[in-house]
């Protein structure tokens, strides 16, 4: 999870490293810790450390972690030569390692030789049938070939065994959303909220899915989850504030003739619009007119 202060730290280090201010190793460590995908930067700065034998030897055993990190980054940037060199160095150092075996299979994936990669993963699974990373790579392999229903099948099978893996639940939810299977996606997000109730982004994603599904029941629930996102973020999530406005407007359309007002919190929407107006005034005062006209078309006001 990337918190606000960690994000600020990452951006600070990134601009420092990009401008030649040093701290490349700290940057690479932070990228690895936060699991963010900055492959081009990792490749550039990681290689400059690896090519400098003095810097490299000062890392000690961390050197091999860096080789792995750079290899994956190079595959992501399609610099397959560099990736191959890194994997070869690792293979020389650890001839028996399963982790390097996974890396070799990943290199096959990057080359696009799906069949060989599949074979490599199968043989890795024969050695250790409970290797979670390899199971996940098979899902990714299906996804890379555009076989999304296959990926869903693999993922469901994987989740039957490893139910606590929230990364896999999230991946499944995102695949379902991309296929517009919102009911199934909603189930995955429910699972994620249950396992990590304090992550506002899952509440937000669940509310988005419910809003997309539509229907008065779902809209009312979506509004509640947008509210809980605001609660968990202290009102600093703009998307949740907009969500409240959209939900209120949609609910008002449903309950027009029936005169059945949403009684739980009548000023929720006016508070949300006020918060949005304040934020726009502070950070993008030029866009304020766009915001007010959007409110007008939604028939909400502060």
């Amino acid at each position: 999870m990337v918190t606000k202060s960690e994000e600020t730290e990452l951006n600070r280090l990134e601009s420092q490293v990009d401008n030649g201010g040093g701290g490349a190793w700290e940057y690479l460590c932070l990228v690895r810790k936060l699991k963010v995908r900055r492959s081009d930067k990792v490749l550039k700065h990681g290689l400059s450390i690896l090519n400098d034998s003095k810097k490299r030897s000062s890392l000690g055993s961390e050197e091999w972690t860096l080789y792995e990190e750079v290899a994956i980054a190079a595959m992501d940037c399609q610099s397959l030569e560099v990736a191959k060199d890194c994997v070869n160095v690792l293979r020389k150092k650890f001839p028996e390692s399963k982790r390097v075996g996974r890396l070799e299979a990943l290199l096959l994936e990057a080359k696009g030789s799906w069949g060989e990669a599949e074979k490599a993963y199968s043989s890795l699974l024969e050695d250790n049938p409970f290797d979670q990373v390899v199971h996940k790579r098979r899902v990714a392999l299906a996804k890379a070939q555009g076989n999304l229903s296959g990926a869903i099948e693999w993922l469901n099978k994987y989740l039957e065994t490893f139910m606590a893996d929230h990364d896999a639940w999230r991946e499944l939810a995102e695949i379902y959303v991309s296929l517009q299977m919102y009911k199934q996606a909603a189930f995955c997000y429910e699972e994620l909220i249950l396992s990590q109730p304090t992550v506002p982004l899952f509440h937000l994603a669940y509310a988005d899915v419910l809003y997309t599904l539509g229907g008065i029941e779902n809209l009312l629930t979506a509004k509640k989850y947008y509210s809980s996102t605001i609660d968990l973020t202290g009102g600093k999530n703009t998307r949740a504030l907009f969500g409240i406005c959209l939900c209120t407007s949609a609910i008002a359309q449903f309950s027009k003739g029936r005169n059945k007002e949403d009684k739980d919190c009548p000023d929720l929407q006016s508070l949300a619009t006020a918060a949005l107006e304040k934020e726009y005034k502070q950070r993008a005062s030029g866009k304020l007119t766009v915001l007010t006209s959007a409110f007008k078309s939604l028939k909400v006001s502060s």
Binding site: S5, L43, D76, E171, T233, G234
Partner: protein
């Protein structure tokens, strides 16, 4: 030396407390000689105990470090983005078309 003010104050607090313990035992020894009943510690010991307690408490709260926020919406705890799901990352994206400008090689 690297002793901070808080650490020195904590040390003084511990010294005061141990002095209070020492004077209490002295006082009880004196009571045995004069064969009086023990009704309570002398006033000076009580003052020492209170002062020592305050100093130690202050040092214990400041020396080990700052308090961390428990509010979910504080900057240290507020999540702004989820990690990229690197276990499921796939390589057929536009990186294939845009070859990186840097043409670096692993030299050995």
């Amino acid at each position: 030396m690297g002793f901070s003010v808080g650490f020195v104050i904590g040390l003084v607090g511990v010294l005061i407390l141990s002095h209070a313990a020492y004077s209490t035992s002295q006082y009880r020894g004196l009571l045995k000689i004069t064969e009086d009943e023990f009704s309570g510690p002398p006033f000076s010991v009580v003052v020492e105990l209170i002062v020592g307690l305050v100093l130690c408490m202050w040092a214990a709260l400041t020396v080990p470090g700052n308090f961390l926020s428990i509010h979910p919406h504080s900057d240290e705890n507020r999540m702004v983005s989820l990690p990229d799901n690197l276990d499921f990352m796939i390589f057929n994206h536009r990186g294939k078309v845009f070859v990186p400008e840097i043409n670096m090689k692993l030299k050995h």
